[in-house]
């Protein structure tokens, strides 16, 4: 079973569908035309580039190239996470990068070695594609988790200081905020897990099925990747919070105010 290729002309017909949001935006003054076209344009350019890039990546399939590319992807994810958190990048860049890298590498190599049992664990098809899915899907949870943790402590300054004044240790004082932010971070992933297959066919499955693989294989991959996403999300949120504590809090256990933009 071969996937039917879409010609460039046909793809233009797909773009024609965008007329719907454009017309709606015109009629109701939604101010969406410019952001819509910019985003669609960016998406197209980025995907064309990555399409070409992946073609060569799969062709060369060298461990150091694949690993370097995965690190670039982690860096991009780190920058998006920090931008979404409204915290100053300078202070938290390194700890967030280390956290994301550990979480992604640990899960992906576990999968490649023990689950898929690849002979060549750096295979671009698995390393890059699965790595991208882990990063892309745990990113939202990460942003929610990290920013909730610091924003809530800032918002609750009085309560947080009161807790310290009661004789709480630093770990005792941050524990409620840690719990809350990790729960929040996992919420979107857990919600999409619970409705998986019924409400939405996930991208991974759509891709694999269109690619000619049987649905039986596709669901096994989907189950594996969802578990991977949960694990990498919770791992990276925990690590990020623990590794940023040193820079974000003073030695007196109070939140540094200069960490926010």
């Amino acid at each position: 079973m071969e996937t039917i290729d879409i010609s460039v002309y046909s793809l233009l017909l797909a773009f024609l569908l965008l007329a719907v949001p454009v017309i709606l935006s015109r009629l109701y003054g939604l101010d969406l035309i410019k952001p819509l076209l910019t985003s669609a344009g960016r998406m197209t350019v980025q995907l064309v580039l990555i399409g070409v890039f992946l073609k060569y990546l799969f062709l060369w399939n060298k461990a150091y190239i694949n690993l370097s590319w995965l690190i670039v992807m982690i860096l991009v994810a780190v920058f998006s996470a920090i931008r979404g958190s409204s915290m100053k990048p300078g202070k938290i860049l390194v700890p967030v990068f280390i956290s994301f890298a550990i979480a992604t590498f640990a899960v992906i190599f576990y999968i490649n070695i023990f689950v898929i049992r690849l002979d060549y664990i750096f295979d671009a098809r698995y390393l890059i594609v699965l790595g991208g899915m882990l990063l892309g899907n745990s990113l939202r949870g990460n942003i929610i988790g990290i920013s909730a943790f610091y924003k809530n402590i800032k918002k609750d300054t009085k309560r947080f200081l009161y807790t310290l004044s009661l004789g709480a240790t630093f770990n005792e004082a941050i524990l409620p905020y840690l719990r809350e932010s990790v729960q929040l971070a996992l919420k979107p992933t857990l919600a999409s897990m619970a409705t998986m297959g019924i409400v939405a066919l996930p991208g991974m499955m759509t891709g694999v099925i269109l690619g000619g693989t049987s649905p039986e294989v596709a669901i096994k991959y989907q189950i594996m990747i969802m578990i991977g996403i949960v694990v990498s999300t919770i791992t990276s949120v925990f690590l990020t919070i623990f590794l940023t504590l040193r820079v974000c809090f003073s030695k007196y256990g109070t939140l540094n105010q200069d960490i926010f933009i």
């Binding site: 309560r159 200081l161 807790t163 009661l166 240790t169 003073s250 007196y252 256990g253 109070t254």
Partner: protein, 212 residues
């Protein structure tokens, strides 16, 4: 008990203290007086390690307050903040929260003890089942005071704890703290029940000196 030595403190370029020194002896009852922005709360924050001076030092019980000793100091001081609250919890949760902190495990947070104090401060015992956010300002102040008393500490930093109480309760509350000889009490207040009490020393932050 608490000694400020040559403190220099500023926030965002605004000078709060410059070469400020002051000592509060063990067992003294002190009121800090002055309009807002003069650094009354900062004086509490300095003891509790919530603000760090640019220079100068704070001594608590003859020991320098620094990043190592601060955790010990916080176990010795009972701090009642202005409208402190735990958020969306019940009043009884407030007590369990404080009792749940490891360094407070040895304390007596029994229903009986809490009940006695609630009676003294004229709070109905039904209050325990209420949401903290549903309490009036005066009720919340009294719950916070009761919590501070349950901590069984000997140094009290009280930020406007009587402001929302009625006349009789103001007196009763101030006297409750002033009458205990072994307690060192520092209170930020404009209430006459503190200021006019002969056993209370008043520190005027306007002039940075003791009022005669």
């Amino acid at each position: 008990m608490i000694r400020y030595e040559k403190i220099k403190l500023d926030f965002d370029g605004k000078v709060i203290f410059n070469d400020f020194s002051c000592e509060i002896a063990k067992g003294e009852k002190v009121v800090l007086l002055g309009r807002s922005g003069l650094g009354k709360s900062s004086l509490f924050g300095l003891v509790l390690g919530f603000v760090e001076p640019q220079s100068g030092k704070v001594l608590f019980d003859e020991a320098l307050v620094d990043e190592h000793t601060i955790w010990h100091v916080r176990e010795k001081v009972a701090f009642v903040d202005q409208d402190v609250s735990l958020g969306d919890y019940k009043v009884s949760d407030w007590f369990s929260f404080v009792a749940g902190i490891k360094s407070n495990h040895v304390l007596n947070f029994s229903e009986e003890r809490i009940g006695e104090l609630m009676d003294f401060f004229e709070l109905s015992r039904d209050l325990l089942a209420k949401d903290i956010s549903d309490l009036s300002g005066g009720e919340r102040q009294r719950v916070a005071i009761i919590v501070s008393v349950l901590l069984e500490r000997n140094v009290f930093l009280l930020d406007e704890v009587t402001s929302a109480l009625d006349k009789n309760l103001k007196k009763k509350t101030a006297d409750f703290f002033i009458e205990r000889k072994d307690w060192t009490v520092v209170s930020i207040s404009h209430d006459a029940v503190w200021l006019d009490n002969p056993n209370v020393k008043v520190f005027d932050l306007e002039k940075k000196t003791w009022k005669q």
